[in-house]
């Protein structure tokens, strides 16, 4: 403390010289316990205030930026979606639809069975496609292949099967439900 005081005596002029003299008067040689604890207190108080301001400014900005994320999250919480007219889907055909924010697919197989999958590849998230000729679900990004009846990952990089949804085919609509 004393050395800091000395330094400011040399470099500062006028008002600050008086200020450093005041400090010297309080602590002539080395700072007492009181002085140190007071300094620490000021440090903590200033630091705390800075944090409080950062939080007060940062929180609204975070919420502002996160607003669309939150809205989509609310959307993705939907448990079922009804696809009007989807019961007319021809055999061997596929219908892509959005389940909440995510792309999904409904397949009407040639044997008249119906399945619906989450169309997001379990590898790195590309949207998969149904190939009717080979009766397979394929991901073009890294050549992942899935079974079109069960959604099981057959070959390529995908680590997990596609998520399968429950289906209710009624007159005039197909309802897809998430477990």
């Amino acid at each position: 403390m004393a050395s800091v005081g000395d330094e400011s005596c040399q470099t500062y002029s006028g008002a600050s010289e008086r200020m450093s003299e005041e400090i010297m008067a309080v602590s002539p040689e080395d700072p007492g316990e009181n002085e140190i604890s007071r300094l620490n207190f000021i440090k903590v108080a200033v630091g705390g205030m800075c944090l409080a301001y950062a939080a007060a400014v940062g929180y609204p900005i975070y919420r502002y930026l996160n607003s669309p994320v939150q809205r989509e999250a609310a959307l993705s919480a939907v448990k079922d979606v009804t696809l009007a007219g989807a019961d007319k889907l021809e055999k061997g055909a596929v219908l892509l639809f959005k389940f909440g924010p995510y792309p999904s697919m409904l397949i009407h197989h040639k044997d008249d069975s119906w399945v619906a999958f989450d169309a997001v590849c379990t590898h790195l998230g590309c949207t998969v496609q149904y190939h009717p000729e080979q009766d397979k679900i394929v991901c073009a990004c890294h050549g992942g292949v899935y079974d079109s009846h069960t959604g099981a990952n057959v070959s390529g990089p995908p680590p997990k099967p596609l998520t399968r949804f429950q289906i209710k085919v009624a007159n005039g609509a197909v309802t897809v439900t998430r477990a």
Binding site: Y12, G14, P60
Partner: protein, 355 residues
């Protein structure tokens, strides 16, 4: 901690900077209070920069402008607050810029060698007003639409080239979504690109020449003049002013968020009591007053001429008020300043009372 400091110091010479800042002093006298207003303007500008970038994230210029502002204000979390902060900080920015300008004027801080500080400051003020004018249209509600239409009548009245300039600014013969797109390009790209380097230049000059002292201080003998170190004393006081300003903006922005008017109807009649933002009120009212004395286009032209002349005179003050500390020249400049300030205040007030 000290290792990190040493690492940085060896490469960035922080200690040299500290030594330099420690040697710098800021004069201390009874007008020292006015030294803070440039800093307050700077803080407001920084807030404008941050909130402006945040608004761009949701704002859509062009035909979607109104709807994007509506959903930003009413649907996006805290969108109303960011918009409100941008709008209020703009107002406080211009207030502090005006205070800064008049305090520099009356302290005669434009004298040699600070002429370029004065001129760059005037250019920054004009850019600031253009920021305000272009930003006001962006929500594209009824009021901003009408205000822009009226405001564009001013360049329209410049002889010979006025019509072409106004059309180019509008991007057509009428204010439309094309105008919003253009104003957005000005507001968010062109003006900041012009403003930032000019601001750097302005700040560099302040660093170079230091704070000017008013003529009354010049009479005080050298050894009796007081000063405080720039670092840390002045910086700390400056930061304290920033904190006060930040709190003030936060308070008014959360208590009085701006509304969004009705969607623009290009065929709708102008709503009653149309008036521009407060910082254009003076020129608006003056044009109205002159129009009463000299009716028609002639009055309009006379008004614009008077304004332009006044502004030119204002900018040229370092030439007719030379560095002689006292004497007649100096007094005339002060009278002219008081006159201008008076006209600004009176016409602004009249505008609100009459409006």
């Amino acid at each position: 901690m000290s290792k990190v400091y040493d690492y940085l110091d060896e490469r960035l010479s922080i200690s040299e900077l500290k030594k330099f800042a420690g040697k710098k002093t800021v004069p201390l006298h009874k007008y020292s209070f006015w030294y803070y207003w440039g800093g307050i303007s700077l803080l407001c500008f920084l807030i404008q920069l941050v909130t402006g970038i945040l608004l761009i994230i949701y704002y859509k210029p062009g035909p979607d402008a109104y709807n994007s502002v509506r959903s930003l204000t009413y649907d996006v979390d805290f969108g109303w607050l960011i918009r409100s902060a941008h709008s209020w900080s703009a107002t406080i920015f211009l207030v502090s810029v005006f205070v800064h300008m008049f305090s520099v004027y009356f302290m005669k801080a434009y004298r040699k060698p600070r002429e370029f500080g004065w001129w760059s400051g005037m250019a920054l003020l004009i850019l600031g007003l253009l920021f305000g004018f272009s930003g006001y249209l962006l929500p594209m509600d009824q009021l901003s639409f009408v205000a822009t239409k009226v405001g564009l009548a001013i360049p329209e009245n410049i002889p010979l080239v006025g019509h072409t300039i106004a059309n180019l600014m509008r991007g057509g013969l009428e204010v439309s979504e094309i105008t919003v797109q253009r104003f957005f390009a000005w507001h968010a790209v062109v003006l900041p690109l012009l403003y930032l380097p000019l601001l750097m230049f302005h700040l560099f000059l302040v660093q170079k020449h230091g704070n000017a002292i008013p003529p009354s201080e010049e009479d005080v003998p050298m050894e009796k003049r007081k000063s405080i170190p720039f670092f840390p004393n002045f910086i700390l006081k400056d930061l304290a002013m920033w904190l006060v300003t930040l709190n003030a903006i936060a308070l008014v922005a959360s208590l009085f968020p701006p509304d969004l008017g009705k969607v623009t109807d290009p065929l709708g009649p102008a709503p009653a009591g149309v008036h521009p933002e407060w910082y254009f009120m003076s020129s608006f009212e003056t044009l109205k007053l002159i129009g009463k004395v000299i009716p028609g286009m002639l009055g309009e032209a006379a008004g614009i001429t008077i304004f332009t002349l006044g502004l030119v005179l204002w900018c040229l003050v370092p030439f007719f008020d030379t560095s002689s500390p006292k004497g007649r020249n100096g007094r005339y400049a002060t009278y002219f300043g008081i006159f201008c300030l008076g006209v600004l205040l009176v016409t602004t007030l009249l505008g609100y009372v009459a409006g």
